[in-house]
Amino acid sequence: MVSKTKRVLLVFGLWGSWNLPQLGLSAQLSHQDVEFFEKKIRPVLVDHCYLCHSSSSPQVQGGLLLDSRDGLLKGGKSGPALVPEEPDQSLLIKALRYTEKDLKMPPSGKLPAETIADFELWVEKGAPDPRKPVAVASLPQKPNYDFAEERKFWSYRLPCQSSLPKTKTRCWSKNWIDAFVLEKLEEKNLSPGTPADKRTLIRRATFDLTGLPPTPQEIESFLQDASPNAFDKVIDRLLASPRYGERWGRFWLDLVRYADTAGDSADYPVPQAYLYRNYVIDSFNQDKPFDQFVREQVAGDLLPSQSEAQRWQQIMATGYLAIARRFSVVPEEYKHLTIDDTLDNLGRSILGLSVSCARCHDHKYDPIPTADYYALYGIFDSTRYPFAGSENIQQQKDFVLRMSPAEAEKILKPYSDQLVPLDAELKRLKEEKKALEKGTPETEGADAAVPGKRTLKEVKAEIEALKQRRLPIAAQMPILEAAYAVADEDPHNARIQRRGDPKNLGDEVPRRFLQVLGGQDLLPAEKGSGRLELAEWLTAPENPLTARVLVNRVWQHHFGKGLVSTPSDFGKRGSPPTHSELLDALAVRFIQSGCSIKAMHKLIMMSQTYQLSSDGDPGNLPRDPGNDFLWKFNRQRLDAEAIRDSLLMISGQLDLSQTGPHPFPHASTWSFTQHNPFTAVYDTNRRSVYLMTQRFQRHPYLSIFDGADPNTSTPLRSSTITPIQALFMMNSPFVHEQADRLAGRLIATQSESQKRIDMAYQLVLGRLPSTEELHRSQAYLQQTEEKLKSIEVPAESRQQKAWASYAGVLLSSNEFIFVE
């Protein structure tokens, strides 16, 4: 195998050398000049300067480019770097000499004297430079993309419906999706797979749409149903189940990095965040058209509404923006990072573009100039984000109240009337304390009495006493219904932040959409932030990305892998689609169907491609080891939520109610700091989507099985297999409790051991045991009871223990953990 690689590399190595630029022995330069440059100058520039000062630098520092003579002559912010024949006047030489106070290069340390002497000599000789002129990159705010040319890239073209491909294989396809798949299989000479059996199919579909196993009754009724639309009916039933939104809403929550805490250094809890979580789940259950779903999340507060309930729903939807990450001890001072997190997430989740790469420099691969980034930035800089609390200000601010400000004022007035004077007094005392601390040298002892003045100790005591008086009043303040949501404020354009530094401002950029996607502007008369318009631009039918990205995600969650394998990157660094015509046809159909995700599920699930067995022709393996061309279904490990929820369901413990707020401590008690951040794990038997999720601390269970990273968008879960997971199955109290409960169920329901084994198989694996499995199981149970007897386990608990041991094994089996 290695020899093959070497051979391939060798071929490329040769190509590489052919492509090496010919050493430019131009007429003006002598051979010695070129040699001097190549030996003494270029290597130093490459090693010490190019990282920050070349056209390939990730961010060019000081606007200075040293990868061409033109760049040296033109110079950067401080002026020309090179004055030929005048080393003493050349900034380049001054910087190398390390004599100027603010101009010392390279920053890692002064170069050897010998090297500096070489540069002096080189400049003295007129800086002969054989390098080809490099187009001197324009400043970040002047994009040098040819957008007309860029829009020819596959993902920026509008999806178009191509005619159904002609295929040779007969009687394989069930719907038009299959024609596109089959065409590729034939083209690649791969043999198409065979259909999965009905049992496999219902288990697959049920986990797929609800994240839970089918019940034995559901399996039985599907097996008995010989009608041609039997599977149709199963899909419809599953799509109508409230369990569907809990499964597919979770995928959206992964993408938008949902958490119940803010992410500042103290990780303040956000008790209202769950409203957005429930909104997402409900929206999936209602099959809310996806374009509307996006519009509500970006601008729900600005959309018209028919009722108060709808208005409130739409405000909760903007929780999508509100849950953007907060940073540091003083999150209020890092709004630029919160906006960056917003743009990063919006770009990846909805458009499949890495927009935030353009924060510090024009995007290196995709046609997103920095100006575009700040055009969008202005929209969110004109948006008020709620404040969840932080180390310094330990209370919520700017949440959106359900009632009007006037009503709220009326309710709160009696309390604020009491609190305002107390707070004023508290502020005064704190200032007095500060003054005392400053004025007293610590070494003299802080409590030394100064005549006429109160001591620090006295002031501290008074502050404590005042806090004690304040607390009961604050604790009685009614908690008004509020959402972690955004609102418009002070509409304005943003200025470019050079190199992403909010203190280094460049030109103002008008708020508008990405140029490669049309660059639509706000109307001159627009008085809002621009979110409403952005919501329209994102979901307009002429936007080529939104529908494509979404249908690819739906495909991915069904098959384990998208047609585009980089689901949040449809740019040049992403992977192109394996089936571009199919992807386009799905996107077109999706838009035609009114952006119904449920219709998309049904379409996909009714294809032969979806209904294939996960064991295909092994002969295909060498030609398509990753099953990119779908000659079989991909076997998938259950994700963290599905494992936990299924274990609870099988043991009979699953609580199917939706939750309200988490049992967070009362807001009046909050005093979290970076030193003592908020941290908690709340146990529940509800579905895992309802577990309290913290930004900085992954839930101990979810982290074992690759749960979503609550810090950043998770477009695709990994499915690792680790010994820590095995230890969880073998030894965790959780698994043992479920095994024990399942054993109790088996014993209580059936009296014969064979019937109990049958029931266990049906509940856990959705089938009956083979004769061999039955015998092995019976023998196991018998041996275990004997073993328990030998270690003197009392007779009355032996049966329960033996069955629990057996149930634990079934729950740990590969057949349970993998979906075929």
Binding site: V8, S354, P625, R698, S703, P723, L727, M730, N731, Y806
Partner: protein
């Protein structure tokens, strides 16, 4: 052709071929298939380094809260002399609270805060020109662990696990011994976008260090019977399905877990250590707490092939770490907690011949200000602009100092070592080129040092 030695860069080489050409698609597909299969089967299998290296494993000791450089390893005589003088910023110079004197053959000055480590100074390479990008705990803690002060990135330990795999499948490749949560919590050892098997396994000193390690079955025999039945079910299942490496990998994971159950308790069982050894670390017999326990367990894990062992001394709770705003004297008990154990660890590794191929690192998130707001204030504030760390063992020159800060320890004067350089050097010592240790995520290749980092060649032995 060095790059072919490492699975990861080899895969990239293959990938870049696919990107560039339609040449020989069959061969390329074969190569990729083989790579993927072996990865899926065992992402933790040992991998050769990019180039031969002396250090085979690393013990990374992290002091929480910001340990003062001018009171420990960066001797500033002028700071003693000019105590109380005013700086341009209106602040007052504040003399070190502990005396310094030269130690060992190298004559390197160490303060009285670390009397035992001072005895080992000829093995230490002290860097006195460290610099980080942020002055808050949370960010700087992420910085020293992941290279990024703002965004969530994989930890140094995860990168090393990803780059080198592990020598002992019965133990995790990256172990973190931490009694409390540090600033930024579990992000400090998170694998982020790297496969989850490379995340640090946090071990809390105490009776059950690894979660779910204690067999839950009624008896050991019954657990073996359970695993036997599971194996039977899983083998039957495997026979009915094509040779999916994931199915086989999961069967193996139970074997490994069983192995861990056997081996890990032994690794954590210090009862067979001699009195002399315990005494070396300053550990009382049968204690399972304290930094001495962490250091001795670290040696035992190192012996058993764990690749990356991180020791965190305390947590983010104020008043219990090096964050000495109020009074520098709070450094004393913290130093006493780690001084003898660290010296013991170095001596123990040396006497067992392990120091030559074990890299020991001591660091913190930032230093502390050599000046104070008020004259004669007892504490010091956060100081990211200059601080000290040290390395010892595998591949590092002992008995040297590298880099200097200015007369007062305020700015780096010479040979700046940014956190990125520190990381690049650590990876280099383990045989990994920080520019080649990359992972493709969200459309680009990420690395620990982002686009920065230079290996500090001068300290390499």
């Amino acid at each position: 052709m060095d790059s072919l030695d490492c699975g990861c860069s080899r895969r990239q080489a293959i990938r870049s071929l696919v990107g560039g050409s339609l040449l020989l698609p069959g061969i390329i597909a074969d190569l990729l298939a083989a790579e993927q299969a072996s990865d899926a089967a065992d992402p933790l299998a040992p991998r050769p380094p990019h180039f031969p290296a002396k250090a085979k494993r690393i013990i990374f000791c992290y002091m929480t809260g910001g340990a003062s450089h001018v009171d420990s390893f960066d001797y500033k005589p002028k700071l003693f002399e000019d105590h109380g003088k005013t700086l341009k910023n209106g602040k007052f110079l504040s003399q070190p609270k502990w005396k310094f004197r030269p130690h060992g053959q190298s004559g390197t000055e160490v303060s009285e805060l670390f009397p035992e480590l001072a005895e080992c100074v000829d093995d230490l390479c002290i860097i006195r020109s460290m610099k980080t990008d942020h002055g808050d705990h949370f960010e700087a803690t992420l910085g020293i662990h992941t290279g990024s002060v703002t965004f969530t990135r994989p930890s140094l330990g995860s990168w090393v696990s990803y780059g080198l795999g592990t020598m002992n499948q019965n133990l995790p490749s990256f172990v973190v011994l931490a009694p409390e949560l540090p600033y930024a919590g579990g992000q400090v050892w998170a694998s982020d976008f790297l496969p989850a098997c490379h995340q640090g396994t946090r071990i809390v000193p105490g009776a059950e260090p690894i979660p779910n390690m204690k067999p839950h079955s009624a008896s050991p025999e019954i657990q073996q019977m359970e695993l036997g039945l599971l194996e039977f079910f899983n083998r039957k299942h495997l026979e009915q399905h094509d040779s999916d490496p994931a199915l086989a990998a999961r069967i193996k994971s139970f074997e490994t877990a069983f192995g861990m159950q056997q081996e890990a308790p032994e690794a954590f069982d210090l009862s067979k250590e001699s009195d002399a050894t315990l005494n070396l670390y300053g550990l009382e017999r049968s204690s399972t707490q304290g930094f001495a326990w962490q250091c001795l367990v670290a040696r035992r894990l190192a012996e058993r092939g764990v690749r990356f062992i991180e020791l965190i001394d305390t947590g983010s709770s104020s008043g219990h770490n090096w964050d000495a705003h109020a009074d520098m004297q709070t450094h004393l008990p913290l130093a006493q907690n780690v001084d003898r154990p660290l010296a013991g660890l170095l001596k123990d590794l040396k006497s067992r011949g392990m120091l030559a191929d074990t890299l020991v690192v001591w660091t913190t998130e930032f230093g502390r200000t050599p000046f104070t707001e008020k004259l004669n204030a007892k504490g010091r504030e956060h100081h990211p602009k200059a601080y000290s760390s040290w390395l010892a063992g595998g591949g590092v020159k002992g008995g040297i100092t590298y880099g200097t800060s200015d007369d007062y320890g305020i700015e780096v004067a010479e040979n700046l070592v940014h956190v990125h350089d520190f990381h690049a050097t650590i990876l280099h010592l383990l045989g990994l080129d920080h520019k080649r240790l990359t992972f493709r995520h969200a459309g680009r290749d990420f690395r620990l040092t982002d686009v920065h980092g230079n290996v500090v060649e001068a300290i390499l032995a």
